[in-house]
Structures are given as structure tokens and as C-alpha cells.
């Protein structure tokens, strides 16, 4: 499965419906670009935990892990490997 595509699909269908996939994948800051706010972040975290059986600790909630789709993918991969 392409993890980045899965994440961008979720953002584009659930968090900010209608946002083009290219815009989400190209974004250098999902926050600055207005694609994700704190509520959207909560939705994303719950979805990732349920979908991948991972547990995202408070210490993981740093910009490097959530500012871009690739940052989110890297975090999910590392947590899924450790799980």
C-alpha cells in the first residue's frame, strides 16, 4: 500500500473534502496551507491509530511529524515497525 496516498486520500476526503491530491502531497506545511487545523489533526491521528494499530504518544506531536504527508508517513512506518 502507498502510505502517502492513503494519508492524502484521507485528508482529501474526510478532513478537507475536495482538496486535490497534488496540493496535499506537495504541501510543505499542511498547517500553513490551511489544509489541517487542530480538529483535522485529531481526526487524522485517530484514523491512523485505528487503521494501522499504532499508538501516537504526546511526544510524537511535533511539527516534523505532521507538517507534511511524508512526515506523517515516516512516523506511521516507524511506529508500525516498532509495534
Amino acid at each position: 500500500m502507498d502510505l502517502s496516498k492513503h494519508i492524502s486520500d484521507f485528508i482529501g476526503t474526510t478532513i478537507l473534502p475536495g482538496t486535490p491530491e497534488e496540493k496535499i502531497l506537495a504541501s510543505e506545511s499542511l498547517f500553513d496551507d490551511g489544509i489541517i487545523d487542530s480538529l483535522g489533526l485529531q481526526q487524522l491521528i485517530i484514523h491512523l491509530e485505528e487503521e494501522f494499530g499504532i499508538f501516537i504518544e504526546e511526544e510524537h506531536l511535533i511539527p516534523e511529524n505532521f507538517e507534511t504527508v511524508s512526515g506523517v508517513s515516516t512516523l506511521v512506518e516507524s511506529l508500525a515497525e516498532a509495534h
Binding site: F55, E58, P63
Partner: protein, 273 residues
Amino acid sequence: MARAFFFGDRPPGSAHLFGTVTHVSPSAKPAFAVLMCHAFSEERQKSYRSTYLFARQLASVGIPSMRFDYFGTGDSRGNLSDVTLHSMTDDTVEACHEIRERFQVDSIVLLGVRLGAAVATRAANRLGDIDRMIFWNPVIEGRRFLRDLTRTEAMINLARKKRPSAEQKVDVTGIEVDADTLSETMASQLKELDLASETQFASEFLVTGRKSDKIETRQIENLVGSLAARDKRVCCWTGEEREFWSSRSMYDAFYPRLTFETSIEWLTKQRNT
């Protein structure tokens, strides 16, 4: 009729806990009474109205009940920073003595809402004479519950791309929750909590949960499985019902009708057996 009062004896005569009993008709001879163990923190505030309405429903079918606030929460004395799972268990044991004395019943059913399920479990284990328990959407994995309690602020900061300031990092001796401080002891007790592996003295259980959340549903299934594996009689109900413990306002008119109906039905059966 409901009546509020202070009770508790730690230290002796301190009356440090706030409780409310809901009576039934004086001519009724109740077979048992229900002690409700509240949820914790914001969840307690948001589910408060539901427990009040449930007490009224219980009274309408002849079952007396009592609600109370743990030390350091609600209208009881003390501060949140003094609260631990041990202190909540102590309070519940005291409340069990109080409800027995007030209603002159031999048998009590403990109803634990969210974290109250773990507290009720530990109180029942300590007392050794509680046979029946109800868990409403129990907190099963304490680590996840603690994280959810504390991460809201972290997510807001993250969405603003803010890191905790130096000022926020200095002199932290507890964990900020709802503009109050949770002790490190409570935090570490929560991290270790796993309701599915706790010893359970009681033999009859009603467990309710929501169907819509995958993690929560899996956890409920695990809990029910672990109870059944220990030869407990378990009735489990999961349904599509909103989270009454996290509704946006404590004045929200919503209450968990299906959870109420299931619980009343189960309690009525218990009374008749």
C-alpha cells in the same frame, strides 16, 4: 426524591465526600441499590447529567441509587492533584458502606462510568462481597485515556506549530488537565491500568460500549472475552450511540437512551433472579 449530603471519614469526622442519594417509595423493599462511580475529569462533568437522569429512571422502577464525587473532584473536598486511583478506590469503598447504611440493603450493584469502571472493580475486589457490576463504556487502556486527557492542548499547539515554551517546561510537577494539575502518581497509575487484566471479584457483568469506534469496540471485545474466560457471566451490549461523556455541553439535552434501557432491563432481570 434526591438528597445531597457529605460523608466519609478520612480523617475521622471530615465528611470529605459529596454524595447524592435518590430514594424510592418508602413502602418499597429494594433488593439492592446501585452505586454509580463517576467518570473522571471533563468526562465526569459531561456525563453528570446522564447519571442524574439514570438515577431518576432507576427510582421509577424501584431501585435506589447513590452518586458521589471522588475526593478532589466535583463538590467533594480536596484538589485534583491529590487524586490517585488508590484514593478513588478508597472513596468508593466508603461510598459502599454509606449506601448500605442509608438504604439498609445487603446487596449493591456498582455502576462504573468510563474510568469509574476500573475504580469500581478495585473497590469490589477490596470489599469482596460485590457480585454484580455494570461498566458503561469503560476505560480499558489507561495509557490511551491519559494520552487523550492531555493531548488536546498538544494538538492545538502543534497545529499552530508551537512548541512548549521554556516557561511551560519549568517546574512541572504534575500534568495539566482542565486547568488543574494531575499528579505524577495518578499519571503513572493510569499508564499501568489495563482493565482486561484486572482481577475481578464480581461474577455478573453488564458491559456497554459504542460500535462505531474500531479501537474501542476491539477493547470491549477483549474485556468481555477475558471476563468470560474467567467464568464470569457477561452481558455485552454495543450500539450506535453518541459519546455521552464527551458531548459538547453538559447542558446538552442528549442522554444515552439505549444504554439506559439496556441497563434497566439487565437490573430488572437481576432483581428477579
